[in-house]
């Protein structure tokens, strides 16, 4: 079991709920992935509208833990107010904190992120900050009260996979006791397995599953990859070598000449 801030979770995969072809496919993908945490957001409701109610009913029926986000927020004030509104609706102190700093790359505004994280941590939130792989920013977020960090491995929705393995490895090494969740940029199950093999505690993804030709099968594939990567990390992997080493014993080899 994965202990995330005192909550025991059966899966190390956190899944987004956006961009699926239909609500039914979303529900099936969540089940196939084995995830126990899904991310959700808040958006304007139309007068007399029931869109929120339908979606909320669907999510509650999944029986997973909810991680609301502040997606789309570009200022500290927006993010803080959105987080408080999410707590009011979803009745959870967990918040995936996004403060976007660049429209093109959707790169986090790390200065605003630290400021918003401090405000929300002091207000009793468990802040899951969507951040970069910068170690100094990570330290500031921990000082602000965060107990978990969520570095990107590539821009949101890019499907590039881990573009800076060294930075991720360094982050894992610097913060051995902090839950680290790779959030954003994963495109394939092998990407998820790779970061899990590096020792990351979990991954959060959305687009790679939702926009796959078969989201349900892809969700299952990611679930397996995350599990495989974690088990590999826990099993002590062989380090790469520059020379060949025979795997079959050479002692007792027959001599025919």
């Amino acid at each position: 079991m994965f202990d995330l801030l005192g909550t025991k979770l059966p899966s190390r995969l956190l899944l987004g709920t956006a961009q699926y072809p239909s609500p039914a496919i979303l529900a099936d993908a969540v089940e196939a992935s084995g995830t126990s945490v899904v991310t959700v957001s808040l958006r304007r409701e139309m007068a007399g509208g029931r869109a929120g109610e339908k979606f909320w009913s669907l999510i509650r029926a999944l029986g997973t833990r909810i991680l609301p986000n502040t997606a789309g927020c570009h200022s500290v004030k927006e993010a803080v107010t959105t987080a408080k509104m999410a707590r009011d609706v979803f009745d959870t102190t967990w918040i995936k904190l996004e403060v976007i700093g660049n429209h093109d790359t959707l790169q986090p505004d790390v200065f605003g992120l630290v400021e918003a994280a401090r405000i929300l941590c002091e207000d009793g939130f468990s802040v899951f900050p969507y951040t970069t792989d910068d170690l100094v920013v990570a330290e500031r977020l921990l000082e602000a009260g965060c107990k978990v960090l969520m570095p990107w491995c590539a821009p949101i929705g890019s499907a590039l996979g881990p573009v800076n393995i060294m930075a991720l490895r360094s982050m894992r090494g610097h913060f051995p006791g902090v839950p680290l969740i790779v959030d954003a940029g994963l495109g394939r199950p092998s990407h998820a397995a790779t970061v899990m093999e590096l020792g990351f505690d979990a991954v959060l993804l959305n687009t790679a599953v939702a926009k796959a030709a078969d989201p349900v099968s892809m969700a299952r594939a990611f679930g397996k990859a995350v599990e495989a990567g974690r088990e590999a990390f826990s099993s002590g992997m062989l380090e790469p070598r520059d020379v060949a080493v025979p795997s079959t014993p050479t002692i007792g080899r027959a001599v025919f000449s």
Partner: protein, 65 residues
């Protein structure tokens, strides 16, 4: 009283946030509200007095990554 609700101008008779929600046919415990960029808790809507020019946001759960 003139208000901005989810970015649209409204002329309403409602004086509290709860009355505004009812007048505009918003209902349900899945709604989140903010006035002038600050949260107004569900429990406080009935006594929250609106003022002319207030900006109200009414949000509900939506898909997210």
């Amino acid at each position: 009283m003139k208000l901005m609700v989810n970015g649209e101008a409204h002329e309403v008779a409602a004086t509290t946030l709860a009355e505004l929600l009812a007048a505009l046919d918003y209902e349900g415990d899945w709604l989140a509200t903010a006035v002038n960029s600050d949260l107004v808790h569900k429990a406080n809507r009935a006594e929250f007095q609106l003022s002319d020019g207030d900006r109200i946001e009414i949000l509900s759960p939506m898909q997210g990554g």
